[in-house]
Amino acid sequence: MDMRGSPSAASLFASFFRVGAFTFGGGVAMLPVIEREIVEHKQWLSTEEFVDVLAIAQSGPGAIAINTAILTGHKLLGLRGVAAATAGVVAPSFLIILVIAALLPQAGQSPILNGFFMGVRPAVVALIAAAAIKLGRKILVDQFSILLAGITLAISLLLNPHPAVLVPAAALIGLGRFFYLRKREQDSPS
């Protein structure tokens, strides 16, 4: 039904392994890496589909990186895709922590590792900001979306509400608008 080829389970695993290996700081920090890999490089998802996946990923329990892997894997390759993508995104942390737990009880005190991550953290912030700007250019294209983004920004800065509240609220606004517009269309004889 679409022109983009379906990936193999192995390439899904490899892509999400890369994502898992470079997710520092958790949460949305992996977005730039995943966006680059899945949307720009492999073109497995469109920008809109990617943002949909992010919205659903933040509506359920668990880490965003894992939820994104589950959704992307399912969409591209069904249950086999879920298994491949989830295993891929979990494997790097699992293996690294296993080695650390087994060999290095004092790993938290390594000056080289600490220096490395002192350098990485500001860059991570920039990557996240760049992802927001890039996605925003494609998503905020009409009055409705710009207005909604402005309201969300104001509410977020003032109240810092949880995404699990914001996503359903936005869904209700979208549904309300849809049924309002449809009713108006039906009521006006054309």
Binding site: G62, F117, G119
Partner: protein, 172 residues
């Protein structure tokens, strides 16, 4: 049976952690340190430090670490599985619904409203993490350089992370 306990405990952590990342820390602390007493408060802080400086979600890192400490490699597998299972169940169901109703106009309308909000959520994450992370000239310069490179060139984000990390090793 410690393996089953690990599975159940981390299933609880995974199930009630919404938003991921730092939102999970209080949950893990309550279940693992206070309730099960598998770790002391000090050990828990060590794990957080390790989780900070290694890739991957904090929930996975602490599950693997605690599981290994309690019951070796098999314990690590059970704890990690436990923390991932709730996501697989809940997100799996949501994903089926999304794909089933993908073409429906009402679902398209809902996502038309959700998308701008997600963009703002990502921006807010950058702002929230930035206020904690960018506090001196050095970090501001790194952040600004990385932002310009990401927007103006097609530089690989992974390469950018590794380079900024190397700069950090040299400077600190």
């Amino acid at each position: 049976m410690i393996l089953l306990q690990l599975l159940v405990s981390f299933f609880t952590v995974g199930f009630f952690s919404y938003g991921g990342g730092y939102a999970m820390i209080p949950l893990i602390e309550r279940e693992i340190v206070q309730r099960q007493q598998w770790l002391s408060a000090r050990e828990f802080l060590d794990i957080l430090a390790i989780a900070e400086i290694t890739p991957g979600p904090i929930a996975i890192n602490s599950a693997t670490f605690v599981g290994y400490r309690m019951a070796g490699v098999l314990g690590a597998v059970m704890a990690t599985l436990g923390v991932v299972l709730p996501s697989l169940l809940v997100i799996g169901i949501l994903s089926f619904l999304y794909i089933k109703y993908q073409g429906a106009p009402w679902l398209k309308a809902a996502f038309a409203a959700i998308r701008p909000m997600v963009v703002v959520l990502i921006l807010m994450a950058a702002i929230n993490i930035g206020t904690r992370t960018i506090y001196d000239t050095y970090s501001a310069v790194v952040a600004a350089t990385a932002l310009i490179l990401m927007l103006k060139t097609r530089v690989n984000p992974i390469l950018l992370l590794v380079l900024s990390g190397v700069v950090g090793v040299v400077l600190f």
